[in-house]
Amino acid sequence: MNRRELIQKALGVGAAALAVSQLRGEIVASQYNGPAGGSRGSQLVTILTGPLDTSGQANGVAPLAPVPQYATYVRIQAHPGQQGKIAIGGAAMASTSGNAADSAFLELWPNWDASFDNGRSDTWILSDPKWLNTIDLSQIYVYPEIAGETPIVTAFQLV
């Protein structure tokens, strides 16, 4: 790796780190962050990882990102060992007054003690087939049936 490539690599890592910090709630801007929808960069970076805590949100329903952020791949997994279903839906789920899962388009089954399916937990994956950044994380909402439970969320972006 020559010096130019090394600098480019370092810049790429920096951009990824910046994107992650932005998604952790440090953003106040009202417009999208990161690449625009429909774009396609050359480096795959992780912009969202780990257990997602929705307990601070109204009704326990939270979007994956507070402002528009376009990803090429998103994966949500029921947290192994936890016991509640995970509902996934669109913006309609945010304003629902009854059972949020009735406004969802998908539910994930828990696998609390690894006694089913060889321990595999239910997982939802959405990816753009052309690896374009077209999935708006702010329009995907998550609702754990049991308050405080934390589905595992991963999102990738091509920058």
């Binding site: 929808g37 774009s39 696998n111 609390w112 399916d117 239910d122 959405l126 087939p129 999935i135 329009q139």
Partner: protein
């Protein structure tokens, strides 16, 4: 910009006594998934307009998931990145009337 957006046809899809199309008029999307509603006991049949309640012409037969773990689902996506799947041509049937399999559909929109 182009965005992959949840279709208005997404959500619990209540099926009465006969196979029903997911959309009443032509609705093109990029991805479709059908999954039994967790906690319900119907087998879910997915097919085209000729889907029979006796499972004839079924594209997929989905089992309910009583205990946990990975749930059965039918997923189809246009790998060319186009909206080519017409929801009005996809029929769903639940063996217990009133059950509501979960339908998830995403289509490209320009915003």
């Amino acid at each position: 910009m182009t965005v992959l957006t949840p279709s208005v046809a997404s959500g619990p899809f209540t099926v009465s006594g006969a196979p029903a199309p997911i959309a009443s008029s032509s609705t093109l999307v990029n991805q479709l998934s059908v999954k039994p509603r967790l906690g319900q006991w119907s087998k879910i049949l997915v097919g085209g307009p000729n889907l029979g309640t006796d499972e004839s012409n079924a594209m997929a037969i989905l089992y309910p998931v009583p205990n946990g773990g990975q749930a059965d689902s039918f997923v189809i996506q246009d790998q060319g990145g186009q909206n080519t799947i017409d929801l009005s041509q996809i029929y769903v049937y639940a063996t217990i009337p009133g059950d509501s399999p979960m339908v998830e559909a995403f289509g490209y929109q320009t915003v």
